[in-house]
Symmetry: D2
Subunit: 359 residues, 4 copies
């Protein structure tokens, strides 16, 4: 119940602090017989790693994942798949200035209060470094989903007030990773990059929005009534560091819509029963209806700033803090593979759960 | 794994279809020794029941909850608290017109595909009637939370494009249930009511937004990394029928904010360490920081319309459907107690989970 | 985590004290489309009910199970199956003599200490009455298993020192319920009955042993490494009131055996790969191997005696207690259907869990 | 649900095959602030490691545990505690003779059928090597329990027909690890050792019995009705490789006892309410009553023999197999720390679960 596992049948448990020896995890419940392409897992991880470009942190970590069990002769064996990623430069630095200070909008204060004892080097367990393990778990899940024809694409839709104003159907997802901001429209991408560069120059940070699209889902995934597909997706996404909001299908705009406008009318097609519109976002009554599943999530600006900030320490005394050197000015470019990973974990779990829906 | 339970230590499991003999549930894990005021539970349930006003469904159901176990001499015993609510008018009507037809934006089609066999009378298990059981479970959780000084208030913030443009700190929550739309500002409430009446007259339905505020939370609730407090709140809220989006604290607006603007600066006060602003929504790193927790959720317009709609049946043939008689034109007024109930279940669970955080 | 649920995918949650309004439960996860014979469920329940013969308690309760949800047109719908059994004569009696006294080898003392507040009428939640709900859940599971050709038979093998010294293969299970002690060999059954009658006459009680045999299991049920098939069977059986020991296959006798004697040699037959002997009890490495699964469990003598006993009350003062009227002199005859029920719940759960073992 | 986790609040998840790169695990839910003595963990592990004496396997593996996370400045932080043990000599050998053959009374056949694909080198995941991770998890749990004054002692009570015929109260547990068979009475220990040496010389193996005693438990551990303390202990013990039976307190002997003889009479003492006898084994109604908890478990003889055995391969063809070199002739000496470890995991979990029993 300590919150370090995700999923029920296809389950990922992660461990590790930003400055411990390693981070890693165990994938339990991946069916046997899946041919795993480990290079593809590393590709996903490389999309998240620090030091990729001038708009992400300059920290250099190779983030090589090593698998320790559960795979034999290239295929999963049905036993736990353990993996780890060594933390490379965890030893050298002096973190004593963070021992007693509570950085604003970080988790220092709440960890200290909750646990009474915390690893104050970097963010400890609250560091976004932990999400590297989600990417590994999700990359395995994505290969499992590919077996069933399910594909997941995520991309940056907004940085600050710079928005990509196109429906996902008009986009070419293959363009997403061709630029450093991970927006599939290159002109908008350039604007976003310039904006991040400007924000960075000012020692500040900026928020953004990522959209995710899941295609090829069968009808029937999701479990009424509490474990609705979009409810688990929401939990998965909100559990990613810095996420503040989630909406699927029509989302918040539904609040202003009429039923006569919002209802998705069924029609009979040569591909079976389909809906004419898709305000439902591919999910009705919490269960996938075979249409595209799509959702958006909002990220806040990163809390570590390259400028001075007031705060307090554990004695309640005022202190002044300033971020050092190597932090992201905007979280969304590196968060794209994390969003896809979490979506994959949710879908893989529901695929397995759905196997016992009927005789 | 079939999705009918919510929570880990404070757990609610519900059962029942809209037209079966009864609906009900089991609350497992409520600590022993809690004095329960069963009348207060009924008050919450009455706030959700049909037939309360002209802007809700005219169906009349008394929705009396009966407790069967787990309470002795007025106090919880630590054993399962079972309860049930009889379904009153489930027998009479003819539902054969719904046996094969799939109502647009309802769960008929996905249930048929997922289970191969479904109770087609009304919405079956997908009916919002199921949420009555959440209200009972949540009302018990609220009494548990009151023991620790935690209070939950929800209210309607928007109906269609009619918005309550005030910060929750300026509102008097005691006004909320004094009008039938459950908006604590009576002038805005009147506008909302007129709007719903108009929509209803047109045989249509309209969406809306509910805000929820949790006050008095201790520091430390929420479990990193997957079971963050806001991640579980998101799941809880998204699992309520018709919800399409969730945001907490700064929410989607954070996407356009700078870190220097968004960071909540700590200060030392005579109540301990507090933040000057609360864009974090009372949650940092997934853990409550002692500030007010607040979030918003968007509801779509109800799918059952009092007008003709095209659809298909299970053979893929075109059919025409029209809602009959007694449905809500807008879901938010009756959803207010459901939102508070789900919030209470989340908080109660995390209170118990937090007991093992440290020695 | 409060311990009132059993199973993971095929899950039974029970509620109710011996003297509350009702007992009952929810079966969650039974796949949709199963034709349920509710009369057969009642037959199993009748085998457990009190008042069946002179060697069981003379309490008369009709124990009629009523199903409230999850079944439509005779078939399961995949939604929760709720049921209840009314407690008939819970109101009249005076239990004040038990309010403060701790009956020897009952749960009064530990409940009081654990919960601080308890329902002292009868055994409360600790009463064996709770097992009626297991029988209902297990009877549904047995119908699910029958769909896959899996059959479960339990019988009394020993009462005090009276033993049935035959291998189960030499028995005719159809004889089991033809006598009141539920031993399939009528001559041994008569001895057992006489023994119980004698013990009862002396105001005393006596222990016994039940054997259970599961036939028709496919290869592959059970999950390494902690959830081995026999580990879950052990938990299931040990959770039944009064059980003190569990062994499967060779059991405790294996401690004195040599490997050369104990190993079950594989051979190729026209039914596939089989073992020549079955000391493994149908389970190897925690997974069913397709042979008969068999195990034994020991029951202690019931603690309520029709004679005076010394004890203490909640103040630590000495008190004298004496059982009143209507208790079983031996638990095993009525426990036979409970053992089969729990075995069925375990097998049904593993059948579902095994569906995700491989691609 | 894949069975590689044990516990609910204090949870151990393990990974690794006998011939993969490493084995290891994650302990999730250990409260923060526990001072951990890692040397003591290694001591427990050394008691289980191969190559300790002539009556255990001659395989030499140093089995050094390395902790990767969750500990900071010597204390637990409340975050996952990950650890691993490298597999030392996994690469060299040729296992192709085991690729298709099914060793008698091993898990080869069932794994092949269940998963369709298996790591055939050694026992893969079914190897008892996996239990090293349980010892690590249990050693951490034992330090947690020591904080509450709870102590666990296990010892060999029987090897083949050589029995230690003394009540545990007459034994000095400090003697247990002074001899290689782990029986606290040296004269009986010598007999057991000679017996194992003789069996080994004959290329055979022999079974045995281990007793475990838990002292210092508070009243109240265990959760009715399914998760009774002895039910979880039974599951924990039966999940250890080669265990065939479990009994606690009076155990199987209770079947022949009278209630008047078996009931444990309460008395008031200066240590509070105690029982005069302890046939209950420290557990009543599934909940600890403050008396010593004791139980016994039977191990079968190890299946790998140093003699020729008939078997079949995956084509159903007859093959002849013979164990090679370095296997244990008797499992119980090395199983003693495993039994204590599993007992500790159960007790630690229930200690945490009990925190939410009452207000």
């Amino acid at each position: 119940m300590a919150g370090n596992s995700f999923g029920t049948l296809f389950k990922l448990t992660t461990f590790g602090e930003s400055h411990a020896a390693a981070i890693g995890g165990i994938i339990d419940g991946c069916p046997a017989g899946l041919q795993l392409d480990l290079d593809k897992v590393q590709v996903e991880l490389d999309r998240r790693k620090p030091g990729q470009s001038n708009i992400t942190t300059q920290r250099k970590e190779s983030d090589q994942v090593v698998f320790l069990s559960g795979i034999f002769e290239g295929k999963t064996t049905g036993t736990p798949i353990a993996f780890q990623i060594l933390n490379e430069d965890q030893k050298s630095k002096d973190y004593s200035h963070l021992k007693y200070a509570y950085r604003p909008s970080h988790a220092d204060y709440v960890y200290q209060e909750k646990y009474g004892h915390r690893d104050y080097r970097g963010g400890g367990r609250a560091s976004a470094r932990e999400t590297a393990c989600r990417v590994v778990g999700g990359a395995v899940a994505q290969q499992f989903l590919a077996h069933y024809g399910i594909k997941i694409n995520s991309y940056v839709q907004q940085v600050g007030s710079i928005k990509l104003n196109k429906n996902y159907r008009e986009l070419n997802f293959e363009e997403t990773f061709k630029n450093k901001v991970r927006c599939p429209e290159s002109t908008v991408a350039q604007e976003m990059i310039r904006h991040i560069e400007q924000v960075k120059k000012e020692g500040d940070t900026i928020g953004g929005i990522i959209q995710c699209v899941i295609q090829g889902s069968p009808v029937g995934l999701g479990e009424p009534v509490f474990d609705k597909l979009h409810a688990e997706l929401a939990k998965a996404m909100m559990s990613i560091n810095a996420v503040k909001g989630f909406e699927f299908g029509s989302g918040f705009s539904a609040a202003e819509m009429r039923g006569s406008e919002h209802n998705d009318i069924f029609e009979s097609t040569n591909k079976g029963i389909k809906t004419k519109t898709n305000f439902s976002g591919g999910i009705q009554g919490g269960i996938s209806n075979g249409e595209d599943i799509y959702f958006r999530l909002a990220f806040k600006p990163i809390a570590t700033l390259m400028q001075k900030q007031q705060s307090v320490n554990d004695q309640g005394e005022e202190v002044e803090l300033e971020g050092k050197g190597r932090h992201d000015p905007c979280v969304v470019p590196r968060a794209v593979p994390i969003v896809s990973a979490m979506a994959a974990l949710v879908m893989a779990d529901f695929l397995l759960r759905n196997q016992s829906a009927k005789l």
